[in-house]
């Protein structure tokens, strides 16, 4: 649905997005992740034809340029803050963009906005504005939806409702590109992760692959952990002792099992460690910064 190929974006003479390429297939939910100032919003704005760029952007096989937005006819977006006219009611804000009234009514109902949709938007709370912004982005059954920090200001119920809605639209074939600082929330919906730092893509993987590669440590409990440690030391297998278990690397798990068996030491537990998604991202970014500092 969306193909971004070799794009460079400049502010003045400074290149702020460097050779970025990725794809968002129909029905995929791609998380665009990275620290502040990494270039997430700039990439989103570039896809929407709002900045000058070098490279190619295709939406449904149609080219997007700064001056040609025909391909964006079926694209919904929420960038930075909800684009809402405060002097209009929520409904009037939706009517300004809606091509299908039935779809509009359905969205307001699903997002539980009926109680305030006919009041002026200037009186809305942050969460109400955010929901309206999301509703505007989802109008007219879009092929591609770009959401920048969609969960900002939403309470738990609204967050769950938006998450369900995103999944529902994705099941119907809508492609999503979503950025969020709430990684744990993003983790629940996305099926592809694009990690960006200093305008460059560091990782572009399916979440399954990302989890497999990133979660390489295992937790090991034996009937006698001090004895197990001696065996591992003897075999020069690296491990990290914790309170009542050992942390070992995925690549060593079969050797460890063989050695323990040879030494008649019983294994009680061997499980992949559930690494926190946020921690993994932070670790990767730290490694990247280390590399950059070394250069």
């Amino acid at each position: 649905m969306l193909k971004v190929k070799d794009i460079d974006v400049f502010i003045g003479h400074k290149k702020i997005i460097k050779d970025v390429s990725f794809q968002v297939p129909a029905g995929a939910i791609v998380g665009l992740v990275g620290p502040n100032g990494a270039g997430k919003t700039t990439i989103m704005k570039t896809i929407l034809g709002l900045t000058k760029f070098k490279g190619n952007i295709l939406v449904a096989n149609q080219t997007v340029t700064e001056n040609n937005h025909l391909a964006l006819a079926n694209v919904g977006a929420l960038i930075e803050h909800p684009a809402i006219y405060p002097f209009l009611t929520g409904l009037q804000n939706l009517e300004l963009y809606a091509r299908d009234k039935g779809d509009m009514v359905q969205l307001t109902s699903t997002l539980e906005m009926d109680s305030y949709i006919n009041t002026k938007a200037k009186g809305y709370s942050l969460g109400m504005k955010q929901k309206l912004g999301i509703a505007i982005a989802l109008l007219n059954q879009p092929q591609l939806v770009i959401l920048d920090e969609p969960m900002n200001g939403l309470d738990i119920e609204a967050t769950i409702s938006v998450r369900k809605l995103i999944k529902h639209y994705a099941e119907q074939g809508t492609a999503f590109l979503i950025s969020s600082h709430v990684l744990s929330e993003l983790q629940k919906v996305m099926n592809q992760v694009v990690l960006i730092n200093a305008g460059k893509i560091i990782i572009n993987q399916s979440t399954a692959e990302f989890n497999r590669v990133s979660r390489q440590n295992y937790k090991v409990i034996t009937e006698d952990n001090p004895c197990a440690m001696q065996i591992l030391q003897k075999q020069k297998i690296s491990f990290t002792p914790k309170d009542d278990y050992l942390v070992v690397r995925q690549k060593d798990i079969f050797t460890i099992q063989d050695e323990l068996f040879k030494n008649r030491l019983h294994l009680q537990e061997m499980l992949p460690l559930e690494a926190n998604f946020e921690n993994i991202i932070v670790n990767i970014l730290d490694r990247e910064r280390g590399k950059n500092d070394a250069h």
Partner: protein, 251 residues
């Protein structure tokens, strides 16, 4: 273009700033009635409305454009439309049409006020200055309509340049209150350069009265035709410059 125009009219109508502008003009006309004696001269200038309309237009025009950036709606506006010129033109047209409406309402309200306050005095067909009084009123208002093009172009250009609505309004007020005297002062101070300085844009404000009072050409140093043509050329210049700034402004 039709879609852009429909959207802009919808927003302009609901923003209420148009209504506030209209009410302000009517209140200022009433203020003129209450604080000054009613004379033929006052009737010819629509109870001061020829001065107030440009100020209202500069404030309304800049607020109408600035709100797109304040509310972040400029992103939607830009990505939903390929043509930036259509967005700009639609906004320009809406404000110019609003200026026309203000002018028509000012004429009607002048008629009503005269009818209510001095019904037996100052016949509209009586001569005043060089024409019948009603011709004076219409010519002055025609001058305001032409000057409105310049004011809308200027307000759009300024809001793209300085990005602060209050500054644009201050410039509008300065133009209205000091533009004419500053322009005259400039020409008096540099008599040798009058061939050049008479074309300064501050002179254009004379258009709102010179069409009925040829004596004002002594201040502007421009003929009626020169004044009209200069106003239109400056209007186009500022509108084009404003569009260029709009097109290249980062969102």
């Amino acid at each position: 273009m039709r879609t852009s125009l429909k959207e802009e009219i919808f927003k302009f109508y609901h923003q209420k700033i148009a209504l506030y502008g209209l009410v302000t003009m009517l209140l200022l006309m009433i203020y003129s009635v209450l604080t000054k004696n009613i004379t033929k001269s006052m009737l010819a200038v629509g109870f001061g409305s020829i001065e107030w309309i440009p100020i209202i237009l500069i404030a309304v025009g800049s607020a109408f454009f600035a709100m797109e950036y304040t509310n972040n709606t400029i992103i939607m506006l830009m990505y939903k439309h390929s043509s930036k010129i259509k967005i700009y033109l639609a906004k320009f047209l809406v404000v110019v049409i609003y200026g026309l409406i203000l002018t028509v309402v000012a004429i009607l309200f002048t008629l009503v006020l005269k009818l209510l306050l001095v019904p037996g005095e100052f016949s509209w067909s009586a001569n005043f200055q060089e024409h019948a009084l009603w011709v004076d009123l219409l010519l002055n208002m025609a001058g305001v309509v032409i000057y409105s093009l310049f004011i809308v172009g200027l307000s759009f250009m300024l809001i793209m340049l300085v990005k602060v609505n209050a500054v644009v309004i201050c410039v509008g007020l300065s133009l209205a209150f000091f533009g004419a005297s500053f322009s005259s002062g400039l020409m008096t101070a540099l008599p040798s350069l009058i061939g050049l300085t008479k074309w300064n844009p501050l002179s254009l404000i004379f258009i709102s009265q010179q069409l009925t009072r040829s004596s004002i050409s002594l201040k502007s140093n421009l003929t009626d035709v020169q004044l009209v043509v200069a106003t239109i050329i400056y209007s186009i210049f500022f509108a084009v410059l404003g569009y260029y700034l709009f097109k290249h402004r980062r969102v």
